[in-house]
């Protein structure tokens, strides 16, 4: 083999290794460039702001989802947990926003605990355990809210959804801080390493003395609590708590964001920044199609195609 071909093969191999890592960012960049050229007012701060605000719930839910997927699990119940959080808020808003928010998060914690328990102790497959909770959780939310939605008039609470700091909405700050925290958790903590080991090889993690059940339960609790935070933010933003609608199908958006962001569904790896980028990509995609007034049918088909292309670019390559 001549050295020239050796160099190109090496270059190709390197590119192949880098693409999965940076594929989602490339796609994001392409989409942004497209919008800069074709969409009016795209670079206006007010527009960027709206995109960020709209993507926050998905980002927050997807962060939890990424952790769960890192353990080779999946959490379908996040949408229902959001609804539960939304249902709890108006019930306790009388005691002040703080109390209501805490109780909404406790609601998430309980669901997460049940999910985690079903997975870690009963040994259910995550998709089934959380599927049951997807159905039942929304039912509980509806029962709690007596099946009807409530308008929220508490100004302090609404401020969370509409106020801003340094020109950036609180909700975006919250999502950014949470993303940072989850990133730190994965990269730098004992918990994060254990989580990845469980996702890679659970029996091995058991024999290595990793407290597998505790880690799994914690992961599902984190996912559910993040989902209820998203629910709270959503309620504060739209000013009403509608348990039958909030978080509908968000599990699919979150999973898509995680996978498009380069986290494999097979566990053992979590890409936090990629997840955020994945969520942004899907958000911008929707926005682009709305801004250009595409019909729903076309929009769905385009979205399908983009998901496939993005995941294809982000896939792990194994040599043959």
């Amino acid at each position: 083999m001549t050295s020239a071909t050796a160099v190109t093969t090496l270059g190709k191999a390197r590119w192949r290794q880098l693409l999965p890592v940076y594929g989602v960012y490339v796609a994001l960049l392409v989409l942004v460039l497209f919008n800069v050229v074709y969409t009016d007012n795209f670079l206006e701060w007010s527009n960027l702001r709206i995109q960020l605000v709209q993507v926050t719930p998905v980002v927050i839910v997807a962060l939890g989802m990424a952790l769960v997927i890192g353990t080779e699990g999946i959490d379908l119940s996040v949408g229902s947990v959001m609804a539960l959080g939304a249902a709890i808020i108006p019930l306790y808003l009388g005691y002040g926003p703080a109390a209501a928010i805490v109780l909404a998060l406790v609601g998430g914690l309980v669901i997460g605990f049940v999910n985690g328990g079903l997975v870690a102790f009963v040994g259910l497959q995550p998709i089934v355990a959380t599927l049951a909770m997807l159905v039942a959780g929304r039912g509980i939310a509806l029962v709690l809210s007596s099946g009807r939605y409530r308008d929220i008039r508490n100004a302090d609470f609404i401020e969370i959804g509409t106020g801003q700091f340094l020109g950036v909405p609180y909700t975006v700050w919250i999502a950014a801080v949470l993303a940072g925290a989850v990133g730190f958790l994965v990269r730098r903590t004992v918990f994060g390493r254990r989580l990845l080991a469980i996702g890679d090889n659970r029996p091995a993690a058991v024999l290595a003395g990793v407290p597998v059940r505790r880690v799994l339960i914690t992961v599902y609790i984190i996912s559910a609590v993040l989902a209820s935070i998203a629910g709270v933010i959503q309620v504060a933003r739209i000013g009403s708590a509608d348990a039958s609608r909030i978080g509908l199908l968000i599990e699919l958006s979150a999973i898509t964001a995680v996978v498009v962001g380069g986290t494999p569904l097979t566990g053992g790896k979590v890409r936090v920044l990629g997840t955020v980028a994945g969520a942004l990509l899907m958000q911008l995609l929707t926005a682009t199609m709305i801004a250009n007034n595409l019909r729903d049918s076309t929009a769905q088909m385009v979205q399908a195609a983009i998901i496939l292309v993005a995941v294809y670019a982000a896939r792990e390559r194994r040599t043959r």
Binding site: V190, R193, R194, L196, N201, A204, V206, A208, G209
Partner: protein, 501 residues
Amino acid sequence: MSLLEVVGVSKQFPGVRALDDVSFTLNAGEVHALVGENGAGKSTLIKVLTGVYRPDGGEVRYQGEAVSFNGPLDAQAAGISTIYQEVNLVPLMSVARNLFLGREPRNAIGLVDVARMNREATDVLSGYGITSDVRRPLGLMPLGAQQMVALARAVMVDAKVVVMDEPTSSLEPREVETLFGVIHRLHERGVGIIYVSHRLDELYRICDRVTILRDGKLVHAGKLEGLQRVELVSHMLGRPVDAGRSFTSFAGEHEAAAAAPVLKATDLSSRHRLNGVSFEVRPGEVVGLGGLLGAGRSETIKAVAGALPLDSGAVEVDGRPLRRPSPVSALRAGIAVQPEDRKAEGIALGLSVRENIALAILPRLATAGVVSERKIDEIVDTFMQRLRIKASSPHQRVGDLSGGNQQKVLLARLLATGPKVLLLDEPTRGIDVGAKAEVQALIDELASEGLGVVLVSSDAEELIEGSDRVVVLRDGAVVGMLRGEEVTTEQLMNVIAVAAS
């Protein structure tokens, strides 16, 4: 004319040159040994031969013609049958279905004839000494038996070439004999056999010629007869070794008699698996667990490590009983376990060498839950050097290491926990002579440092040489014990035989 030939093949993996201009020739009717250290490229060469990997350069010739198999199926259709290094069967499917997968007997209308398949499977397998119900899931059978099924499967077709990548690594002496019988029959039929093993005795018993690889390069090829063991090993290792050493690297007895036991297992019972197993290990002592396949040795190890739910029984470390046995509490008490099935239960293949080594001791390397990269680096460096782990960097994926190096990574993880008791289930399975000697020496060293070691090995010689005492198991119960002078292969077989009658 040669049956199968490889000319100047190269194969590059990210960061490693697994094969570098390797040539290899197999003639009809010969048993050809393929040897080399861990990571020398043996399995890679086999996978190139059978179309699993596509070579970067070079050529494969089969019966004189250049071929490029498009996967194992292609190779199989052409008459090259392979038993891969790791047992590669489907555990959830029945034994019979595994045996016949892809060539099930069919009835007149093309449906699988299940009755006939089961009958034939029973017949075929009884020839290999396997009498269990062929309708049961394969995964419930012991590893050795699974290996025999894989062997039966490979040999069932009319192959011209049979490739065996470490077929004996999980076999008992008795089963090894069965295997050799099979090889003998194939040999007589004029089949060419490629045989990979780290057990030199076996090579000398059955092989005609040998090809030696080192670091992906061909270093020697020729007749095995006349090639001294020492020469063979020095070729493999790339350095001269002194002749006249014993078969294993164990130094011998340890002084442990007086001390109080560091591990005490009492009356371990678990339905259908263990039946009141009791034994003790003193600091500095290596206790072997002997017995035939399925005697319950692995179960005993798991029970002590807290990974097998017990109906009754107690485990004490340093006189302190383990409350609520679990792998976590066992680890905390100072028990480190190396499981039998490295790939399934041992290491996390997708994680790096570094993460694997640090996995069990993360809390110790962290403050307030945040890990210190520096502390991890220190530990990892120490153990990578001490065990001579060959990896391109600590960040390399363990799944891309050779089998032996994977094993060393696993051992490094155990040692990093600073255990009082080491439970080793087949610690030298699938690792090369050099590494094996290192591991054995390491066990010795650890014992002399005062650790209690429990050793399980299906290599009787290793068990006898390495152990100070041997507890003999059968059907999940202790049937005897050998100590001091009694620790010999004959005595071991004797006890097993007495218990059986």
